[in-house]
């Protein structure tokens, strides 16, 4: 039971946080102003005459005009997605400032994501492999799970003894460790 206490504590904290956040979100639902919407749409479009600038950032005349068009269309009740598709229909795909989530350009997102996930899995297996081989060297090839667990506990006990020895020696060597060590002892005793 004592072992799970931190976990419960963490759950309680998460619950409180979730409560606060949902309270805030419910009382004041995030409502975008027209300015923010214009900004959002404009930052997803590439300024057609500039080098690598979005419509939101570019000071060029055409970008200013496009921002005005965006504002008018949003004011007339169109959704952000509709405004973007309007510009795509007029200028083609290259007006989009990042690859759209469709067709071939999905690869832009999928490949880094896939590789990263693959990397995580690979890393997990490598680590498991390494630690397994490390442990089997230690435990001279124990097969059953129960034994594995036992040797783990052995290791822990071993480590605790070694750690105490080391701290004692350190304390004898260098006074800076002495109070630290005694404090620890008290803690463990209590």
């Amino acid at each position: 039971m004592k072992r799970w206490r931190p976990l419960f504590l963490a759950l309680v904290v998460v619950a409180i946080l979730a409560a606060i956040w949902s309270y805030v979100m419910i009382t004041t639902p995030p409502q975008k102003t027209l300015d923010q919407k214009v900004q959002d749409v404009a930052s997803q479009l590439k300024c057609p005459v500039c080098q690598d600038e979005s419509v939101a950032d570019s000071p060029s005349l055409i970008a200013q005009q496009m921002r005005t068009v965006i504002r008018q269309k949003l004011q007339s009740g169109q959704s952000e997605q509709q405004v973007i598709s309007y510009f795509v229909s007029r200028y083609g795909q290259q007006i989009l400032w990042s690859p759209p989530w469709q067709g071939f350009s999905m690869l832009a997102y999928l490949i880094p994501f896939g590789l990263f996930t693959g990397g995580c899995v690979l890393l997990f297996f490598i680590l498991r492999d390494w630690s397994a081989s490390g442990r089997s060297a230690d435990a001279s090839l124990s097969n059953s799970k129960a034994e594995d667990h036992e040797t783990d506990m052995d290791d822990e006990a071993d480590l605790a003894v070694l750690r105490q020895q080391l701290e004692e020696e350190l304390a004898a060597d260098d006074p800076i460790f002495a109070p630290h060590y005694t404090q620890k002892q008290q803690m463990e005793a209590g």
Binding site: V13, V24, D52, A108, G119, W130, S133, R163, L166
Partner: protein
């Protein structure tokens, strides 16, 4: 006799000496003749001296306005102030190649002077590799890309530097960034030398780490200066636009950072040798790729003034570098066994591996986004642009994970950590993060992702500060005042606490990025004299335009007052400067006053006569933290790098905690002691 003739002679001679050095160094190493190696050392110094001479010749040609030299006529004009004229040295492609070659030879010389510390077997191979790279640059300078080419009919005046480059940033950013790119060749040379000589021990690792740390610090400074310059010059209210060229400079930085972390695992545990070599080689290859990308112009970018036709040569060089190091690597692979086994997933090694995965993942995603337009055009015949939103979505979450890992890392011990110790250590930072996550939404931060970002930053800052605090407390108990304890802690365990300073700087920078990313507010308006506009509580009153005509330039400036809560905070003068030779490229003058932690960023878009102007205003909360955090990172890098008079061996933690070998152990901090076991 012109200065340019002197430069040509110096470059040809340097090429000869560089080739000589390679031959002598390799012969000396193979046959074991010390005299030949000594000659190679001197050869490197001669190359450096000749390149200093060539650079001097080019700067002199600029300063005497020798427009008979084509490069001088293209890059400078009579009306430019002398410091920009001198800086035009690296303003174009030929000069920046010369600058690169010069820096490479200077760094090689520094290596020669400090090589007493490096393992002696390695030195000749390092010199040969460095000079091999140098030969490529000198060959380019001597043949296809010479800055000293003369024209038969010199013009009366030169074209002058691109207006975007006429900025104080020009004096610091390009030299720093080019130096950073170049400096990755020293660790690469040390890695190649290790593979050639088969010597890959801890002494080797210390040498390469020191050089990598220096390169990392230089590259960080270069990137920061670039961001700062973009912020002050380009006029779109931001500092990082994920431009292909910016990305190219960031890529080797990521792999170098990954190396600095994973090499610690090698230092302590003797593992990951293969992986570390890969990272060093990738870092160098990416820095060459960056240069190739800038020069070839295959991807459009704001750095378009650097386009040229020598991309093909760089591509060939890149291929040679990759093939050469891969062959060498495969050849050496059988010799690179790990010395120890891995113990536990929940250990500092484990988190370092995860950190490496994240950094390499970010680097890959960035590279992928940079070259995706090319792939898309080749495979699906679609023109595609990959801009900031892509990187925000793909790299952003990875960055958040990286910062989280940065906080967890110091809490874990080498080898393995018991769950009990982990819970105990994680308590305080988790508490700080929870408080932050509870207060911010109530205080009005509505965006969920901004909240998550701030909570992660709070966690990591909490973890690092708590760690430093624990170290200080132990020392304080021995009668040291806190300030002294803090200083001693950093002074004695520089690598460790320097690293923490870097991490704190990065957290600070991340808070700045979150601030400018989520809370930037902007507005523009056409104002007549006396009219006002207000953005986020700041009020701006327009007073009129001033038009100043100077020889070669014309500057239009608007005058504004900035008010807040009925109080006058100051006067602002945003403007535009038109250069005679670059009529269509006006340079913006952007005042960016900082009030507390908020930047106000004002651009003059347009104007009509003296009484009307279109003003665009950004209010960027927390953006100054980007610069403070960046400066802290560079400072931390220097602390880590700073030479230590007392050479203390780092003890390996062996299979069974090494009681017998703790000579070096008791010098480390108690906190670390505790974590180690």
């Amino acid at each position: 006799m012109h200065f340019s003739d002197l430069g040509v002679i110096a470059i040809v001679l340097a090429l000869g000496f560089a080739v000589y050095t390679i031959i002598v160094a390799v012969l000396g190493a193979l046959r074991g003749i010390p005299a030949l190696v000594a000659s190679a050392r001197r050869g490197v110094l001669v190359v450096a001296a000749l390149l200093i001479l060539a650079s001097f010749a080019l700067v002199a040609s600029f300063l005497v306005h020798d427009f008979g030299v084509r490069y001088v006529a293209e890059q400078s004009s009579l009306s430019m102030p002398w410091y920009y004229t001198a800086a035009a040295f690296y303003g174009g492609q030929e000069g920046s190649l010369l600058y690169w070659a010069l820096m490479l030879s200077v760094f090689s010389s520094i290596f020669v002077f400090t090589s007493r510390r490096a393992p002696a077997v390695l030195v000749p191979y390092v010199l040969a590799t460095l000079m091999g790279i140098e030969v490529f640059f000198l060959f380019m300078l001597a043949t296809v890309s010479s800055p000293f080419v003369r024209v038969p009919n010199p013009p009366a005046d030169g074209v002058g530097l691109n207006p975007l480059l006429m900025d104080p940033g020009m004096l610091v950013h390009p030299p720093m960034l080019l130096m950073g790119y170049m400096s990755f060749s020293v660790p690469f040379a040390i890695a190649v030398a290790a593979m050639l000589s088969g010597r890959l021990d801890n002494e080797w690792l210390r040498t390469i780490r020191r050089w990598m740390l220096a390169s990392w610090t230089i590259q960080s400074t270069g990137l920061l200066l670039g961001a700062w310059w973009a912020y002050h010059v380009l006029g779109w209210g931001g500092y990082w636009s994920w431009d292909p060229v910016e990305n190219a400079a960031l890529l080797p930085w990521f792999t170098a950072t990954a190396f600095l972390h994973s090499s610690m695992v090698q230092e302590r545990r003797g593992m990951l040798k293969v992986w570390n070599l890969c990272l060093v080689m990738a870092t160098f290859a990416l820095s060459i790729f960056g240069t190739f990308e800038v020069r070839s112009g295959i991807i459009s970018s704001v750095h378009s003034f650097a386009y040229s036709d020598i991309g093909g040569y760089f591509f060939a060089f890149l291929v040679i570098v990759i093939v050469f190091s891969t062959v060498l690597f495969v050849f050496r692979l059988p010799k690179l066994h790990p010395e120890q086994e891995f113990d536990s997933v929940v250990s500092r090694e484990g988190i370092f591996l995860f950190n490496n995965l994240l950094l390499v993942g970010i680097a890959f995603a960035t590279l992928w986004g940079t070259i995706f337009p090319l792939i898309s055009a080749a495979l699906s015949k679609q023109t595609m642009s990959v801009g900031a939103p892509f990187y925000d979505h793909v790299d952003g979450p990875l960055f958040a994970l990286l910062i989280l890992a940065m906080g967890v890392g110091p809490l874990l011990a080498w080898r393995r950590t018991s769950m009990h110790a982990l819970w105990r250590n994680i308590g305080v930072p988790a508490f700080v993060a929870a408080i932050c996550a509870a207060i911010l939404p109530l205080a009005g931060v509505r965006d969920i992702w901004a909240n998550v970002g701030f909570a992660v930053c709070a966690f990591t800052a909490g973890a690092i500060l708590y760690e430093i605090w624990r170290g200080m407390r132990v020392r304080h108990k021995h009668g040291e005042p806190y300030a002294v304890a803090f200083y001693q802690l950093i002074q004695r365990y520089r690598q460790r606490y320097g690293g923490y300073i870097v991490h704190l700087g990065l957290v600070c920078l991340a808070v700045g990025i979150i601030g400018s990313q989520f809370f930037q507010t902007q507005d523009n308006a056409v104002l007549n004299v006396g009219q006002s506009m207000s953005v986020l509580g700041y009020q701006f009153t327009y007073l009129g335009n001033v038009d100043a005509v100077n020889p070669g330039t014309e500057t239009i400036t608007a005058q504004l007052q900035v008010w807040r809560d009925g109080q006058l905070l100051g006067y602002l003068y945003p403007g535009r400067t038109y250069y005679q030779n670059f009529d269509n490229q006006p340079a913006s003058i952007i005042p960016i006053p900082t009030f507390g932690l908020t930047d106000v960023y004002i651009i003059l878009y347009n104007w009509q006569g003296a009484t009307s102007a279109t003003i665009h205003i950004f209010v960027n909360p927390l953006t100054p933290l980007v610069w403070y955090g960046g400066a802290l990172m560079v400072f931390g890098g220097i602390v880590c790098w700073w030479p230590d008079r007392r050479r203390k061996p780092v003890t390996r933690i062996n299979q069974r905690v090494g009681i017998g070998q703790r000579e070096g152990d008791h010098k480390r901090s108690p906190v670390e002691q505790e974590a180690t076991i």
